[in-house]
Amino acid sequence: MELVERFLLGGLIISAFAVVGDILRPRGFAGLFGAAPSVALATLALTVLTEGRQYAALEARSMIAGAIAFLAYALVCVYFMAKGHFPSGPTAVAMLFVWGIFAFGLWSTLLR
């Protein structure tokens, strides 16, 4: 039951942020919503209810490392899409490994 709640809440919040990003202009400003805290809001709200605030705060601390990894990922995407002449969709998927390297690199050096 908890998984269904997570799925529905996550799907709704993330879709809502995506729609806001769709309707806003200019494009660069709308792009901010690509890094909206949508997964975080859905997850933290449910985590507070099930595991408590201390547990959720610990997740939020790791989220800082995830966000730095997101910054690295987005900058690599900008480079390859704008300057490297690679197609956007496959580039955005392929570069997810950059997020992984940075996120787990920061985890192993600072958070473990």
Partner: protein
């Protein structure tokens, strides 16, 4: 540059695009919960900032721009790719504010009401992301006019 709302862009998005984003969003939220349960909150927390739907959004933007050009009689264009790159640049600025969101929640959540802290963190994310975007715009304009 003024921020505006363009509702017409909603018509360009197909129902299956909305469904894809809903399913992806639901799946990543469930996956984040499961990862936290198996590996603990320190690893699980990393995934709160996972670029879950960014690839779907970039693909959609690219497709919309290419469709627009195709309708105008231009079959081959790089505009879609450049629009997706602009979106990624925005996401890069948003991710700096995302780190601040995490910092705010980490420090204040144990001390105050969770709903208030999450609402304040969201407002703070929007304010900081907008500020970063505005400062960058000013910097670009002042560089051009120099």
């Amino acid at each position: 540059m003024r921020i505006r709302i363009n509702l017409a862009s909603l018509k360009q998005t197909q129902w299956h695009d909305y469904l894809t984003r809903f399913l992806l969003g639901g799946a990543i939220t469930v996956a984040t919960g499961l990862i936290a349960k198996h590996f603990g909150p320190v690893i699980g927390g990393l995934f709160l900032a996972f670029p879950a739907i960014f690839p779907a959004g970039a693909t959609l933007i690219d497709k919309h721009e290419r469709d627009k050009k195709r309708r105008a009689g231009i079959p081959r264009t790089i505009r879609g790719r450049l629009a997706a790159a602009l979106d990624a640049r925005g996401a890069a600025m948003g991710s700096i504010a995302l780190a601040a969101f995490g910092l705010f929640v980490w420090k204040l959540l144990p001390l105050h009401n969770a709903a208030v802290i999450l609402a304040a963190a969201l407002a703070g994310w929007l304010a900081l992301a907008t500020l970063i975007w505005r400062v960058r715009k000013l910097h670009v304009y002042s560089s051009v006019s120099r």
